[in-house]
């Protein structure tokens, strides 16, 4: 067993770090608050191939895995630039397409995921289905050469800046279980009949969330991914990377918080001694450090399992849960360590709260993870 990252992974971390450090958290919040986009950062990362590290080499990508993509996002988070888009476009969408897309579909999209010129949103959540994906009611009905999509998705991130969206639909019913049969489509966001409205959220991040209304949206049949009705299995393929990437983002925020807090605690002196000497300050930070490092270890394991083709479900859920909690704990203690400055915009901590808090809820809630662990890891009876 070897817990060290490869030399390549260390260099990747270093290179992303150098780029992200040039931008930093003030760039991130400035863009978020002015409604701008982080195109400069995105483009610079893309030009070096860092946003396509997990895309197969034959399509111009880096040919590596989620481990490497997670490193990219963690280092962005460490520099106060946690780009949510990485959790979705390259991690969920590119993964599902690389795995289930036809040759033509892969040719069409993967080279543009490799260069990150293509941004693709992902839509599973619905107002009425909630965490129960079996209850999805956005329907896809075959009509000659096209499918017609009807229904509503909400909280769909960056539907404004993406070119298309990977939509999870119901295309039939499984006779034996009575459950919906799911199918996945890649839908252009400028398709006629597709409307979007902004959902205001209390998150300081450059990405926006939208409700998407599909009113008889015509989607060519060649936009169906894989086999019709096989969508549930396909989505699951993308959900482990999504969880691992969420964990990586949280870990980055955790490290960002601890770095700020420890620097401040070393320098700030109130009773003639640095506040970091008081155990009331140092112990909670030490505890947060342990929790963040444990979360990083589980994230690494989950990513490694996924890349090795092993079942990564359990580790990915452990990692996402642990990382979200550790990041929240670290951020909260960093704010506390900063006293009143913890709440000032200048110190770049309190504004991270919304985004960090989100990770306890999305992409899968804390409760649904605990359900999963109860049922699968502990074989406890299902409650719902």
């Amino acid at each position: 067993m070897d817990f060290r990252e490869t030399e390549e992974q260390q260099m990747l971390r270093q290179a992303v770090d150098s780029i992200a450090a040039k931008y930093g958290h003030s760039y991130f919040t400035e863009k978020a608050r002015s409604g701008g986009r982080t195109d400069e950062l995105w483009d610079e990362l893309a030009a070096s191939g860092f946003l396509g590290v997990n895309v197969p080499e034959e399509y111009g990508g880096g040919g590596m895995g989620i481990s490497e993509l997670a490193i990219v996002l963690e280092q962005l988070g460490t520099n106060g630039c946690p780009l949510l888009l990485l959790v979705v476009s390259p991690a969920i969408c590119a993964t599902i397409i690389a795995r289930f897309g036809s040759d033509e579909q892969k040719q069409l999209w993967l080279p543009r995921f490799a260069t990150a010129e293509l941004k693709m949103a992902f839509a599973i959540t619905e107002p009425d289905a909630g965490s129960n994906s079996h209850n999805i009611t956005t329907t896809a009905t075959r009509d000659g050469d096209v499918y017609r999509l009807r229904g509503t998705k909400y909280f769909i991130s960056f539907a404004d800046e993406s070119e298309s969206v990977l939509v999870v639909t119901r295309s039939g019913v499984d006779e034996s279980t009575g459950r919906g049969k799911l199918s996945l489509f890649v839908v252009d966001l400028d398709s006629p009949g597709l409307e979007k409205t902004l959902i205001p959220v209390e998150i300081v991040a450059p990405e926006n969330q939208f409700t998407l209304f599909f009113d008889d949206v015509e989607v060519p049949a060649d936009r169906l991914l894989g086999t019709e009705g096989d969508g549930l299995r396909q989505v699951f393929m993308g959900l482990n990377p999504e969880r691992i990437m969420t964990a990586a983002m949280a870990n980055g925020i955790g490290r960002y918080s601890l770095d700020k807090a420890s620097t401040y605690a070393r320098e700030r002196s109130v009773w003639g001694t640095p506040i970091g000497r008081h155990q009331g300050i140092s112990h909670p930070l030490a505890k947060a450090k342990i929790e963040v490092e444990l979360a990083r270890l589980m994230t690494q394991k989950a990513a490694w399992s996924y890349d090795a083709g092993l079942d990564a479900g359990e580790a990915a859920n452990f990692a996402k849960f642990a990382a979200a909690e550790a990041a929240l704990g670290a951020l909260d203690q960093a704010i506390q360590t900063h006293g009143g400055n913890g709440m000032s915009s200048e110190f770049g901590l309190a504004d991270m709260w919304g985004l960090t808090r989100l990770m306890r809820t999305a992409p899968v809630s804390r409760e649904m993870i605990l359900n999963f662990v109860g049922q699968h890891s502990l074989q406890l009876p299902k409650s719902y």
């Binding site: 030399e7 390549e8 260390q10 260099m11 290179a15 070096s48 860092f50 880096g62 590596m64 490497e68």
Partner: protein, 259 residues
């Protein structure tokens, strides 16, 4: 054209450092990284070489414990190959004995142009490159802020206190570059993945035909006899600007003889 870039691998300046109590030199046990100063040299080398046209950029480094991390970073930036000299016998080398060793290593790459930084970040004697040029019998141009290579010559804008001199000299030659001469690229992901398979030759003192008594502490003419802590920085002077702040600024700059 064969371009050789000297690359020093140093302890991470951001991490806390310690001196060996006996030799009073920096402890270099942990991981070493590419000296930022040399990232400019690597970039310069890559820009001057037409790699597609057969020009070769070779990195040369001397470092303890077979350290290659910094070299891999520079290979990831795009250099073609690397030579590392590492040997226990080199412990305690001063700048001149480092130059003697690397002169031997660099000869093997048959350089047309050798690039080094003006001074390293950790040792910063700024003496190694000119000693190297002297040992190789090559002309050297220091403090380059712009470098172009013509037909068998190199033309350099050489930073001076007053401005810069334009200097031209025949190749082969050695040039030291200042920080900011070019903007170093970040390694791309493809570069990072390719770095591992690029040739990296590791040499010992014996491989270079040198005798252990000529190098390391044995061959060094310098010895660190004493170290003392730098003076604490004095508290700055705070001036309330009541509309006449510029007068203080002018007086201050005059004091420093800057204006």
């Amino acid at each position: 054209m064969n371009v050789v870039v000297c690359v020093k691998q140093i302890p991470d300046p951001a991490a806390p450092q310690a001196l060996d109590p006996e030799t009073r030199t920096l402890i270099r046990q942990g991981k070493l990284i590419l000296d930022d100063s040399d990232a400019y040299g690597v970039e310069m080398g890559l820009q001057l070489a037409n790699q597609a046209g057969g020009d070769v950029v070779t990195l040369v480094s001397m470092a303890p414990n077979g350290e290659t991390s910094g070299l891999r970073t520079a290979l990831a930036m795009g250099a073609d190959k690397a030579i590392l000299v590492s040997d226990d016998a080199l412990r305690g080398s001063d700048a001149l004995s480092t130059a003697k060793v690397l002169a031997k290593a660099i000869e093997r790459a048959e350089p047309d142009l050798i690039i080094a930084a003006t001074e390293s970040t950790d040792g910063y004697t700024g003496t190694f490159p000119v000693q190297l040029a002297e040992l190789l019998g090559l002309p050297s141009i220091t403090f380059a802020k712009k470098v172009t290579v013509g037909d068998g010559t190199v033309v350099v804008d050489r930073q001076t206190e007053a401005g810069y001199d334009e200097v031209e000299c025949p190749l082969p030659a050695l040039v030291t570059v200042t920080a900011g001469v070019v903007e170093p690229r970040y390694p791309s992901f493809k570069g990072i993945m390719a770095a591992k398979s690029k040739p990296l030759e590791q040499l010992t003192v014996a491989d270079l035909g040198l005798d252990a008594s000529q190098v390391g502490a044995a061959g060094s003419r310098q010895e660190v006899t004493d170290v003392s802590a730098a003076d604490e920085r004095k508290a700055g002077e705070i001036v309330q600007d009541e509309g006449d702040g510029y007068e203080y600024v002018v007086r201050f700059l005059e004091q420093l003889k800057l204006i």
